[in-house]
């Protein structure tokens, strides 16, 4: 027990075939450093749960390129052409989940629920083979929690109690995934002493975190550089 500050041992100890959640949306708020370490330790047959699959040359894409991933559970994988090819060849299995259902299933796992009824996907392929139920005049489909062995998350600031704070749109799936895995490894841009984050502004309380460490050399790539000409 007790929080750790070095991820090396835990990441090296991940077994082949593990289920790993990875926070981020596109390239925004992704656990770059933990992904890089996993690339080095080289585990195979991994199931990765992440909103996206990275791009060909960055993020989860690197793990796909290295052949470490046998299954992706995602909501949208459109930016990764390598994965597209692997999908066509059958080299990788992809399970697609609506984004809100993905978030809610992960939360249900973290919150100890056995499942829930959602209106999302009723009447679509997503509901095929699942229980549907009429509740107060509306149709819902039953969805089960999504658990994982590990969660790799990325925060802007972390303190030595494991409390995490996410800047701007980097929270995305990071906070909810931190709740849902047996072990959560958090990389942060800045590690501060306990008390360094305003207690009301903690997004992920430290009780969800097993390892917190300050990452090195964040690339923080931008996927689509959209900007306007300065008015001035």
């Amino acid at each position: 027990m007790g929080i750790q500050y070095d991820p090396a041992e835990m990441i090296a100890g991940i077994p082949d075939g593990a289920r790993i959640m990875m926070g981020g949306f596109g390239m925004c708020g992704i656990p770059e450093n933990s992904i890089a370490m996993l690339l080095e330790t080289g585990q195979k047959n991994l199931t990765i749960l992440s909103n996206n699959a990275g791009v060909d040359t960055f993020g989860i894409g690197l793990l796909i390129n290295s052949g470490q991933v046998s299954k992706m559970i995602s909501t949208y994988i459109g930016e990764n052409t390598v994965l597209e090819k692997l999908l066509i060849d059958g080299g990788i299995e992809v399970e697609l989940v609506p984004q809100g259902t993905f978030a809610e299933r992960i939360r249900a796992a973290g919150a100890g629920l056995g499942g829930f009824f959602t209106p999302t996907g009723v009447g679509t392929v997503v509901a095929e083979g699942k229980e549907t139920r009429e509740l107060h005049g509306k149709t819902f489909v039953f969805e089960e929690p999504l658990h994982a062995d590990y969660a790799f998350v990325k925060a802007s600031v972390g303190d030595r109690k494991g409390n995490l704070f996410y800047r701007k749109t980097t929270q995305n799936f990071n906070a909810v995934m931190a709740m849902a895995a047996k072990k959560t490894i958090a990389e942060v841009e800045k590690l501060v002493d306990a008390g360094g984050i305003e207690p009301e502004s903690v997004h992920t309380p430290g009780l969800f975190v097993d390892v917190v460490y300050q990452g090195a050399n964040f690339e923080k790539r931008i996927e689509k550089r959209t900007y306007r000409t300065a008015d001035r």
Binding site: T75, G123, R167, K168, T169, V176, Y227
Partner: protein, 221 residues
């Protein structure tokens, strides 16, 4: 008229559906263009399902920040009173009926308001992202699309042939040619573009259209 200006017309027309105080989610493509036509002085808050309320205009080149993107993965800016949150709360907003209006692109819309916009069998499947949640949960769902496919085949059909995004979810369809409301009695044509006719719209529509008190589509605000 060029396709680009047609798309702008669609965005302009949809902007007329905005009301003061609305919380609005804009999908990728034509829907994103609606932001350019929000009437001056109207209080519209844009939601981005990756975890933000209060999207502002694109940043200047020097202001671009990898930590601040929209659901289309584009760099954006914040406005005074913006807020950030996680994906679970973001979709709680969506499913819980807290988004007044969602605007999405469409491949096909059926007579009863079914929408297909995420998957073409035979093509590589990229995923539904947040579209299924947005159509299931938003108070109003407006589909922005060209009236027909590039080969001229109708996209508004008795029933969709492509895999569905949602069943009976569409409130209104706005195309380059017409505005069509989805009612309990089926599709109701309410507006046609200045350069077309009710007959042309009917001909290019695969589903039965009830013809209401048809006005000319207005694009400015």
């Amino acid at each position: 008229m060029k396709s680009g200006s047609k798309k702008e017309r669609i965005a302009q027309r949809i902007a007329r559906e905005l009301r003061d105080g609305f919380y609005v989610n804009l999908g990728i493509g034509i829907p994103t263009m609606v932001a350019d036509y929000i009437p001056e002085g109207m209080d519209i808050t844009l939601h981005s399902e990756n975890g933000m309320l209060g999207i502002g205009p694109y940043p200047t080149e020097s202001e671009m920040n990898a930590d601040l993107i929209n659901a289309g993965k584009e760099t954006i800016s914040e406005t005074p009173g913006s807020s950030y949150f996680g994906s679970d709360l973001s979709f709680a907003m969506v499913r819980g009926g807290h988004i007044d209006l969602s605007i999405l692109g469409g491949m096909q819309v059926s007579e009863s308001g079914d929408l297909a916009n995420w998957m073409v069998p035979g093509s590589v499947v990229k995923g539904m992202g947040g579209a299924m949640d947005l159509v299931a949960g938003s108070r109003r769902v407006v589909v922005a699309m060209m009236h027909t496919s590039k080969d001229g085949s109708p996209k508004i059909l008795p029933s969709c042939t492509l895999p569905l995004t949602g069943v009976g979810v569409v409130t209104m369809i706005v195309t380059d040619l017409a505005v069509i409301e989805v009612t309990k009695k089926g599709l109701l044509l309410t507006e046609v573009a200045p350069d077309t006719t009710v007959d042309e719209v009917r001909e290019k529509t695969g589903a039965t259209l009830r013809i209401g008190d048809v006005r000319e589509m207005l694009f400015a605000n």
